[in-house]
Symmetry: C2
Subunit: 132 residues, 2 copies
DNA sequence: ACACTTTTTTAGAATCATTATAAACTGGAA
DNA sequence: TTCCAGTTTATAATGATTCTAAAAAAGTGT
């Protein structure tokens, strides 16, 4: 398994549950944007033995802390996560409630002119809301 | 009261509660970014008679629907609202959990090159996260 | 003012995503 | 194999938000 090393190197034990969640999250060509409940469904389809909801939450938060996932700010009742942890932007389809990646080349450079005293810029994210 | 007309024109009855909430929200020079609980505190300081939490929620949602407030997407347990309903951008101070307006002139024009078939762009918002 | 209708307010209950708990289990080091 | 820190799990707790339904207030007409 290719994820065993990755997990070990992060100080996370490569448990059965984490490896299966890794497969669901990272065995993909494209970026995966998801809520916890969507992830839970994918896990159900992918494996026979069930993984408890608490473990899904624990794992997602552990991966987020290690930098393998990040949260995307959206006005939704559920939190959205992203397997693309690079700096990039999003379309948000309001009707479908789906995120779509926008590469930096799709948006062009963003130059923030204003600064706040004593604060550093950590990230610059563009959210483009889509309607029909 | 200057808000009576505004409310009536929107089809909202100018009740004591709504007028007091209007004063707290809109009698300001600067944009007001707030959560429901922050707003509740301001209301407490501003008035003697208390307004129930349900009314604060009702009113904020009514004002949002009428276009007097808008939600700002932030990764926070509480929803943030903004009295500045024009198209503009934000700093988000992660430590203080505070939003700060960025005018369009502070960011410069953003040109979205990619398009999604059958979808129109409704808004383009930049969120700049700040750390110490 | 009064009667009548509609909207709004309100306290409290319900909802639901998320987090906490604490007991059982497991991975890996020795 | 023994041991222990780390992990999983079912379940309870939390907390922001929404719902409910009865009381109050506002608008309308008389
Ligand atoms: Mn988190
Ligand atoms: Mn709302
Ligand atoms: Zn993405
Ligand atoms: Zn703002």
């Amino acid at each position: 398994m290719k994820y065993i090393e990755k997990l070990r190197n992060s100080g996370l034990r490569p448990t059965k549950q984490r490896l299966q969640i890794c497969e669901v999250l990272f065995d993909r060509e494209k970026t995966f944007h998801f809520t916890i409940n969507e992830l839970e469904q994918k896990i159900k389809n992918h494996t026979s033995r069930k993984i408890s909801l608490a473990t899904v939450y624990n794992t997602v938060h552990a991966f987020e802390k290690k930098g393998y996932l990040k949260q995307i700010p959206i006005n939704s009742s559920e939190t959205y996560f992203d397997t693309n942890v690079t700096d990039h932007h999003h379309f948000y389809d309001l009707k479908e409630e789906k995120l779509i990646d926008l590469e930096n080349s799709d948006v062009g450079p963003i130059n923030i002119l204003k600064r706040i005293n004593g604060k550093k810029i950590k990230s610059v994210e563009v959210l483009v809301k889509l309607e029909d």
